[in-house]
Amino acid sequence: MKRMEINITVNGRKHELYVSPDRTLLEVLREELNLTGTKKGCDDSNCGVCTVLFDGMAVKSCTMLIPQANGHSITTIEGLERENSLHPLQQSFIDHFAVQCGFCTPGMILTAKAILDENPDATEEDIREGLHGNVCRCVGYKKVVESIEAVRDGEYSESCGEV
């Protein structure tokens, strides 16, 4: 199949890729850019482990074809850490024990970021509404919500970068 030129910005870095347009965003992130922090779980957009930020919005990268991302900006979990510190949500997930097997964690953190970016005062109800597309099998969600609420409440504003 004829490859097409795709221009995407991933984690702030511009990429000019020549890829087959039948590939998904997830496949390109993992296979072309080696960004394996974005996971594949169900491959039909139900579990949320493939969540990335697409122009700041949370999307499931397993059901987007790569041409849909052409000209857009993507943030993956690898794009959150700053030189000297983790992103507040990353630190908060560690501190609140919201991580077990860790397979859902990147998607959870990125969805959480989208929720707080859109609504810095998100209530527990808002967080639940935003997160029900992210399945976790280990943690049971409570510690995930607590991690997000701690960031919302500014507990990490001093120590780390922007939300």
Binding site: P67, Q68, G133
Partner: protein, 289 residues
């Protein structure tokens, strides 16, 4: 390889040309949330995929005194959160907001929800409840079809070779109109509906029902109207007895199937339960405006 050719036309004409050329051998890519899993599972093996995201005005949401226009590629989440829809088109917002998760709604489109023609689609019932029309462009020009008449069967629309759904048009509702969509699914929006009931009601000044539309999701090969139940309600004031009767009629007039999500019997019973809720709430809303 999931398909051979990818196109991203920049004009409607070009798009129609491609659709005509490939006919059944192509699929349209809007949000992709339904298309991509089917491509991956090889349920669909089109020769070409035509991305329509670059067509002019394809994702607009426009409200004025005459009504609402929703571009086929308007994202469900944008629709569900657009404050300009809150006054007159709340049901459209709500039904769009009932589709799956935030991540999906950020990508999925209203036109995709319609053209995918899933019997259990949610978002289109907001349109049906408001009597919306689909605007279709094709080789023969532009035509309009009532949204409820857009469907021919599971996965099938009335669109013919070369035709493209451009947008939806909704007339500004008359005073005394209220509408609601009730999605019923076990895990909420995440799930595909077991049943969905949309209802739009317009009341006369004296409180009698001047117009009513009840649409049902997931109980037939395509979205259907509960015509008998509507007939019962028309011209009457809503009482509890009438409500029960209408709900029962809706239940009796549908023949859903058993599948992995629910049995036919349960679906029928849920039609009654949710028709009751939908009609009642639409009526309350109509009264309050």
């Amino acid at each position: 390889m999931r398909f051979e050719q990818y196109y991203e036309p920049k004009t409607t004409e070009e798009c129609i040309r491609l659709l005509e050329e490939y006919g059944a051998d192509c699929k349209i890519l809007a949000g992709g949330t339904d298309l991509v899993p089917r491509l991956k599972n090889k349920i669909w093996r089109p020769q070409a995929v035509i991305g329509i995201g670059s067509l002019p005005d394809i994702d607009t949401i426009k409200v004025d005194q005459n009504g609402l226009e929703l571009g086929a590629c308007a994202k469900l989440r944008k629709i569900s959160m657009d404050p300009s829809l809150a006054k007159d088109y709340k049901v459209i917002m709500e039904a769009a907001g009932n589709v799956s998760s935030m991540q999906i709604r950020n990508v999925a489109t209203i036109g995709g929800n319609a053209c995918n023609a899933s019997p259990s689609a949610d978002a289109i019932h907001g349109l049906i409840a408001m009597g919306a029309k689909a605007v279709i462009a094709g080789p023969e020009g532009v035509r309009e079809v009532a949204v409820e008449d857009l469907f021919a069967g599971p996965g099938k629309t009335v669109l013919t070779r070369g035709e493209l759904l451009l947008k939806f048009k909704v007339e500004a509702p008359k005073a005394g109109t209220g509408a609601v969509y009730k999605k019923f699914a076990i895990r909420g929006d995440t799930d595909i509906s077991i049943v969905g009931v949309g209802c739009g009601i317009t009341l006369k000044d004296d409180g009698t029902i001047e117009a009513v539309r009840i649409s049902l999701s997931a109980v037939a090969p395509k979205p259907i109207r509960a015509a008998e139940a509507e007939k019962l309600l028309l011209g009457k004031k809503l009482t509890d007895e009438l409500l029960d009767l209408a709900a029962e009629t809706a239940e009796n007039n549908c023949t859903p199937i058993t599948d992995q999500r629910a049995t036919a019997a349960y679906r029928k019973e849920m039609v009654r339960v949710w028709t009751r809720h939908a009609v009642k709430e639409a009526y309350e809303r109509a009264k309050s405006v």
